[in-house]
């Protein structure tokens, strides 16, 4: 089962510069484990204390997983996962 994962610039140090990688898993959680197995270190950039980081967005087929079941969001063959760091900041 192949899922296409689009990797943002800032995380391409973990994917040898690749913009797209293929991974497997029947949920976002499983997918992240598979990514970690092939691109060590990436998991820590996506999760904090086992939960998605506040300022990292993960989308499955254009839907933010915050609105579709979080890490348990199911995946199937041909799905596209996009990872994007939030664009955020401010004087606070």
């Amino acid at each position: 089962m192949a899922i296409e994962v689009r990797v943002p610039t800032i995380l391409r140090t973990y994917t040898d510069g690749e913009k797209k990688v293929s991974a497997t898993g029947d949920s976002v959680s499983a997918l992240i484990e598979d990514l970690e197995a092939n691109h060590a270190g990436i998991k820590d950039r996506l999760l904090e204390d086992g939960q998605p980081r506040r300022f990292v967005n993960i989308y499955v087929n254009d839907e933010d997983i915050r609105f579709s079941g979080g890490l348990e969001t199911p995946l199937s063959d041909g799905d596209i996962v996009v990872i994007l760091p939030a664009v955020a900041g401010g004087a606070r």
Binding site: V82, V87, A88, A91
Partner: protein
Amino acid sequence: MLTIDQATYDAIIAHARRDHPDEACGVVAGAVGSDLPTRFVPMVNAAMSPTFYEFDSTDLLRLYQEMDDRDEEPVIVYHSHTATEAYPSRTDVNLAGEPGAHYVLVSTRDGAHEGGPLEFRSYRIVDGEVTEEEVRVVERYDQSTGASAPQSPNTLTTNDQEADV
């Protein structure tokens, strides 16, 4: 150094003034590898806050898909500070996720939102390290060479910018 055309420079300032006292934010996209900010894309500050900005997650995805389709990248990521100087805060540095971008900060404090002198500064933020860079405002980009013609000095002195910008 950031090279930016006058129209885009003015558009960023106008957006910052319009959204004051909330922070304004957006990007200026440009062709991948060109380092030329050509397509001004003001974004909604989903935080609607005077001290914080964040692109809405759906808008963010749409923006990146659009840039991808057009072979663009975010050449500038800009936002305003509305009560403090135009320098990256600790939050700005911690959350900076585009190592290739010019981070532009505008300050609308001290009446700058009403037309007073306004700070417009640019930085690189890579691995938590902030480096300020020169901002060069040009009338237009020379598309044939990627280089740009300097603007005549007397048009640089508007009340929008410091004379040494």
